[in-house]
Amino acid sequence: MTSGLLFALVGVALFALGVAGVVLIAQLPRRILAFNLMGSGAFLVLVGLAQRGDLPDPVPHAMVLTGIVVAVAATALALALVRRLHALTGRLQLPEDDGD
């Protein structure tokens, strides 16, 4: 077992935790947290799995840098929308869609 593999395994667990959080949690800011956990999990897998032999690989490193920036962009947008929604409705949860 190398640290690379170990963190890849942790990454899978984090990803699953994050996805479950996004699906199950109704409160929007916390959903955003869950999404970030999910992303971190994927990044850990990307880097960790690629260096099972413990030699760093710059390609996934660069990919994760890209991924982190994308994640923060998504987080900022999501928070802005949540804040707007809260300003308009006073709620932090999505209203049930009436389906029509």
Binding site: D57, P58, V59, V70, A80
Partner: protein, 219 residues
């Protein structure tokens, strides 16, 4: 009841997935390809000596180009989602805090410049530098020295989009010479530094914008 069933199903699926993935990872053999060698082999042609920066801005610079677009896009989304116009009046903080912020801001800019310069051969680069710049701006806002942003004026828009526009312009100029982002080895270092400098300013503004454009819904 329905919620409980949903929770049960999701958790069960997640556990099964984790178990399967871990099992599959543990039995995984060595990868078929290894990009470490080619990354190092061509490093001299990339214009930078730090491999991660080389991947980020040269080998896979196209990813980065699109990623900056994503960042700019998020800002656009925030602007488009709207809210009341006009910015919150700055709430003046304690003079002591203000004084230390005045002191800290130039220092932070210095750090940003160092990070940018160092990125060519050490960990660091435009993103980290931009984040520090943004932090400086937010700090000034928090202590009440700058106002939150409303609709961006032309100068601000130029600043926000400038880094990306510069990047894109370089990419397009190189495309007319043969390949998108095909840096000629002789000029690669300078061009990348130019791009990174532009990006640092714009990223700083964009990241700061994530805060400062939102301050308007405080009123």
């Amino acid at each position: 009841m329905k919620a409980l069933a949903k929770t049960f199903v999701v958790v069960w699926l997640a556990l099964v997935f984790v178990a399967a993935a871990i099992g599959a990872m543990l039995e995984l053999g060595p990868a078929a390809l290894d990009l470490r060698a080619p990354v190092t082999d061509h490093l001299t042609d990339t214009g930078v000596s730090h491999p991660v920066t080389a991947v980020l801005l040269n080998y896979r610079g196209y990813d980065t180009l699109l990623e900056i677009a994503v960042l700019l896009l998020a800002l656009l989304g925030i602007l488009a989602a709207g809210g009341a116009a006009g910015s919150a009046a700055p709430k003046a903080a304690h003079p002591m805090l203000q004084a230390s912020a005045r002191l800290a801001a130039p220092l932070m800019i210095l750090v940003a410049v160092y990070l940018l310069w160092a990125g060519a051969f050490l960990p660091g680069g435009a993103f980290q530098a931009g984040a520090v710049l943004a932090a400086a701006a937010v700090l000034l806002h928090l202590v009440g020295l700058t106002r939150g942003w409303d609709s961006p004026r032309l100068r601000l828009r130029l600043g926000l989009a400038g880094g990306f526009a510069l990047f894109l312009a370089v990419a397009a100029a190189l495309l007319t010479q043969g390949a998108l982002l095909g840096f000629p080895p002789a000029w690669a270092g300078e061009l990348i530094m130019l791009i990174e400098a532009g990006l640092t300013v714009s990223l700083g503004l964009i990241l700061a914008g994530f805060f400062l454009f939102l301050s308007r819904d405080l009123r």
